[in-house]
C-alpha cells in the first residue's frame, strides 16, 4: 500500500509493522512505545494513523461522526476497495443505517434477555469443568476455551450441530481480514469458499431453531423493524463476533490466572469474584486488540490534526494497559481492580452488543473452576495464536489440582 500523505510536523512516525508476527505475538512493548511517543502517531508502513492512549481511544470510539465505521473497520478502505464480503450492518455501518439494526440486536442480547441463557449455560460449564478436573491436566484452549463457547453459543443461536467446525475458521478469516494482506490473511482464506457457503446457509431462517437468538432476529424482520434481507446478515454478525472472541477471552483469562497464583487463591477463596476475574483478564489480555476507523473530517487529536478520509488504527489492547488510566501497575493482573472503563468491548454506539453473553460464559467457566480447583499452573506448551486483530493462545497446557473433597 502506498504512503498517502507526508507526516504532519509534530506527529511521531513509527516504522514498525503492527501486523508483523513478532508484534502480534508479543505486542506490549510496542504498545508502550506507541503510548509514549504521543497521543497520535503515524504508522508509516501502512500510511495510517494510530492511537494507543486510553483517553484518545475512548474519545475516538465515542465520536462516531468523525471516526466513522462505514468505510470499514479494517485497513481496507471500502470507498476504494471492494469488501471481501457484504459489509456488516452493525460493525461496518454508521447511523442512521446502523440505528434500527443495532436496536434490534440490543434487544435480543440485553443482559436481561441473556439471563434466560443461564439455565442452559451453567450445567454445561459445570460438566465440562468437572471432567477436566478429573483428568488433572488439559490444554486450556483445545479442551476448554474452544469447547465451551462452541457448545453453548451455537445452541443459543439455534444452529444445527452439523458443520460447527466452520465457525472458528470463519472467525479467523473475518478478524484476519481487518489487517493487511499478509501471510496470516492468506492462510486464513485458504479454503474460504466452503466455510463462507456454510455460514451463509446457516444464517437462513430454515436453518435456525425457532427458539434461538437467530430466529428472534428473523422475527424482528417479520415485525418490520428490519428487512428480511438484513436478517441473515445480522445472524452472521452473531456467528462472526460471538465465537473466536469468547474462545480467546476464556483462554486469556485462564492464562492470567495460571500465571498469577495469588490471584487464583483469591478467586478460589471467593468464587463470586469470577465475573471480576474475567473482566480484568479482558482488560489485560484483550481478545480484540485493534479496530480501524476512518475520519470524515479533519480532526484535531491533542494538538496534531488528522486530515479527512484517513484510516486510524485504535489500539484497544494498548488503551487497556495505559498507565495514565490504570496507574503504574497497569500491566498487573489484579482481580480486585475496578476494571470498568476498559475498551475490550469497544465503547459508544459500536460497543460489543453481545457482551452480556461473553460475560455470562466467562463467569460460569471461571466460577466452576474456582469451586473445584485449588491450584492452576502452566505445565508445558504455551503457544500464541497470531491474528491480525485478535490476541490469544493456540495452546495453554494446564495442571489442575482439585479442591479437597472434590
Amino acid at each position: 500500500m502506498p504512503t498517502r500523505t507526508e507526516p504532519i510536523a509534530g506527529v511521531p512516525v513509527i516504522d514498525d509493522d503492527p501486523f508483523s508476527l513478532a508484534i502480534l505475538s508479543e505486542p506490549y512493548d510496542f504498545h508502550a512505545r506507541m503510548r509514549e511517543v504521543g497521543p497520535v502517531v503515524r504508522l508509516e508502513r501502512y500510511g495510517v494513523w494510530g492511537m494507543a492512549r486510553h483517553e484518545q481511544v475512548v474519545a475516538a470510539l465515542a465520536d462516531w461522526e468523525t471516526f466513522c465505521s462505514a468505510a470499514g473497520v479494517g485497513l481496507s478502505d471500502f470507498r476504494r476497495e471492494k469488501p471481501w464480503r457484504p459489509p456488516s450492518l452493525l460493525l461496518e455501518a454508521d447511523p442512521p443505517d446502523h440505528t434500527a439494526v443495532r436496536r434490534v440486536m440490543a434487544r435480543v442480547l440485553t443482559p436481561r434477555a441473556v439471563k434466560g441463557l443461564h439455565a442452559s449455560f451453567e450445567p454445561a460449564a459445570e460438566r465440562l469443568v468437572a471432567s477436566l478436573v478429573q483428568r488433572g491436566t488439559c490444554d486450556a484452549i483445545r479442551d476448554l476455551a474452544e469447547v465451551y463457547p462452541l457448545r453453548v453459543f451455537p445452541d443459543a443461536v439455534g444452529l444445527a450441530e452439523e458443520g460447527r467446525e466452520n465457525l472458528l475458521p470463519y472467525g479467523s478469516m473475518a478478524f484476519n481480514a481487518f489487517g493487511p494482506r499478509n501471510e496470516l490473511f492468506e492462510a486464513a482464506f485458504a479454503g474460504a469458499a466452503a466455510v463462507q457457503a456454510w455460514i451463509l446457509a446457516s444464517c437462513q431462517r430454515e436453518a435456525l431453531d425457532p427458539l434461538g437468538l437467530g430466529a428472534q432476529i428473523w422475527s424482528a424482520a417479520d415485525r418490520g423493524e428490519i428487512t428480511h434481507e438484513q436478517a441473515p446478515l445480522l445472524v452472521r454478525s452473531l456467528l462472526t463476533a460471538g465465537v473466536d472472541t469468547t474462545v480467546l477471552g476464556l483462554g486469556n483469562a485462564l492464562f492470567c490466572l495460571a500465571t498469577n497464583p495469588e490471584q487464583w487463591d483469591r478467586l478460589h477463596a471467593d468464587p463470586s469474584l469470577a465475573r471480576f476475574a474475567f473482566e480484568e483478564a479482558l482488560r489485560l489480555e484483550s481478545p480484540v486488540q485493534t479496530f480501524f476507523r476512518t475520519t470524515t473530517r479533519e480532526v484535531e487529536v491533542a494538538g496534531p490534526r488528522i486530515p479527512a478520509g484517513e484510516k486510524v488504527l485504535l489500539f484497544l489492547g494498548a488503551a487497556n494497559r495505559d498507565p495514565r488510566k490504570w496507574g503504574e501497575d497497569a500491566d498487573r493482573y489484579d482481580i480486585g481492580r475496578q476494571s470498568s472503563g476498559h475498551v475490550a468491548f469497544g465503547h459508544g454506539i459500536h460497543a460489543c452488543v453481545g457482551q452480556a453473553i461473553a460475560r455470562l460464559e466467562g463467569e460460569l467457566v471461571l466460577g466452576a473452576l474456582a469451586r473445584r480447583v485449588s491450584r492452576i499452573e502452566l505445565c508445558g506448551d504455551l503457544r500464541p495464536r497470531p491474528n491480525n486483530t485478535l490476541r490469544g493462545f493456540h495452546s495453554v497446557a494446564l495442571r489442575l489440582t482439585p479442591s479437597q473433597g472434590d
Binding site: 440505528t99 436481561r112 472503563g341
Partner: protein, 320 residues
C-alpha cells in the same frame, strides 16, 4: 425520558427557519431534507434532539399537527444549563441538519368540556397546539400564561391575537406571580387542568390541585429541567450486602461512589445503554435515566442502572 421504542423515527431533519420569538427564545422549524411527510403527532408530544451522542434534549412540538411537512420547536437558552440549549442556539442555524428521535407523548390532551391551561415561561410550548385542539373541539377553555417579563414570553402576541380573551398574559413584572389560589381554589368537576412550566410553578399547582378530583391535573415536567433539578440532589445509598452507607453527591454517579468505596461492580457504557451495571433495588424509588428498562420494568422498580440513574427518595437500598 422514555425508553426508545422500536417504532420510533430517528432521522436527520433540516432547520428550515429560525426566528427569535422572545428574549433568549428561538423558534426552529424543521422539515425533512427531501420534503417528505413527518410522522403524525398530537398536542403534548415531544421529540429528542440528538445533538451529540451524549447530548440529547427533549423539546415539545408547538406547531400545527395537521402540517405534516414541518415541526416547530421553541428553545430557551438556559445559561445555567448543561449545554444542550446553548448548543442549539449556537449551531442550529437555518440550513443546519439535526438528528431527531420521536415523537413521543406523555402529556396527551384528554377529551373534556372545559380546560384550564397554565403555562410558565417556555412551558407554553406544549400548550400552544393544545389550545388549537381545544378550540377545534368546541371546548370551553382558558389559558393563564405567566413569565418574567412580556418580552421573555414566546407566542403571547400570536395567542392573544388568535384567541382574544381566552388568553390571559401575566408578566411577573407587571402583574406579579400568578394568582393560583383564585384560579384553583375551588375544585371544578368538569375541568381538566394542564400545566407546564418551571418546577416551582408545577409544585404550587400540584399543591392546590390536591383537593381536586383525581386525574384533573396533568403536568409536563420538561425532562432536561427535571434532570438538572435532580443533578443537584444528594442522596444516600445503602449497600445491603456490604453493610455500607454512602452519600451520592450531585456531581457523581452511584457507580462512581460505589467504585470509590472499593465495591466492585461491572459496568461498561456508563451512559445507561448497555445494561451491564443493572443492580437490584431493595428499598427506595430510583429515578431511571437509562434506555434499557421498559416502562413496565421501571414501574416494577426492582432494578436500576446505577451508571446514570439516581433516586427519587432520600435513600436507596441496593443489593450490593
Amino acid at each position: 425520558m422514555s425508553a426508545i421504542t422500536s417504532g420510533e423515527l430517528e432521522i436527520d431533519l433540516l432547520v428550515e427557519r429560525r426566528t427569535a420569538a422572545a428574549d433568549g427564545v428561538v423558534v426552529l422549524t424543521l422539515r425533512d431534507r427531501w420534503g417528505g411527510d413527518l410522522p403524525e403527532w398530537e398536542p403534548g408530544a415531544h421529540i429528542d434532539l440528538v445533538l451529540k451522542p451524549c447530548l440529547v434534549r427533549q423539546y415539545s412540538l408547538c406547531g400545527d399537527p395537521s402540517d405534516r411537512r414541518r415541526w416547530r420547536l421553541g428553545v430557551l437558552l438556559e445559561h445555567e444549563g448543561r449545554g444542550g440549549s446553548r448548543h442549539i442556539h449556537e449551531n442550529l442555524t437555518e440550513g443546519a441538519v439535526v438528528r431527531v428521535r420521536g415523537p413521543r407523548n406523555h402529556f396527551a390532551l384528554m377529551p373534556s368540556k372545559r380546560y384550564l391551561f397554565i403555562a410558565g415561561g417556555i412551558g407554553v410550548t406544549p400548550i400552544v397546539p393544545m389550545l388549537a385542539a381545544a378550540e377545534a373541539a368546541g371546548a370551553d377553555w382558558r389559558l393563564v400564561y405567566g413569565g418574567r417579563t412580556r418580552s421573555s414570553m414566546a407566542f403571547h402576541e400570536e395567542l392573544s391575537a388568535r384567541y382574544g380573551e381566552r388568553v390571559l398574559v401575566q408578566p411577573q413584572d407587571e402583574t406579579g406571580l400568578l394568582d393560583l389560589d383564585s384560579l384553583l381554589g375551588r375544585p371544578a368537576e368538569d375541568t381538566l387542568v394542564y400545566c407546564c412550566g418551571p418546577e416551582p410553578l408545577l409544585q404550587a399547582v400540584e399543591e392546590r390541585c390536591a383537593a381536586w378530583p383525581r386525574g384533573s391535573l396533568r403536568v409536563e415536567r420538561f425532562a432536561p429541567r427535571a434532570t438538572e433539578e435532580a443533578v443537584l440532589q444528594t442522596f444516600e445509598v445503602e449497600l445491603r450486602r456490604s453493610c455500607l452507607r454512602l452519600v451520592v453527591p450531585p456531581e457523581k454517579s452511584i457507580l462512581e461512589v460505589v467504585g470509590e468505596a472499593r465495591i466492585q461492580v461491572l459496568s461498561s457504557c456508563t451512559e445507561g445503554t448497555c445494561g451491564t451495571c443493572e443492580t437490584v433495588v431493595i428499598e427506595g424509588i430510583p429515578e431511571h435515566r437509562d434506555s434499557v428498562l421498559t416502562e413496565e420494568e421501571r414501574a416494577v422498580g426492582d432494578a436500576m442502572m446505577i451508571c446514570v440513574s439516581r433516586s427519587l427518595t432520600p435513600r436507596l437500598v441496593l443489593d450490593l
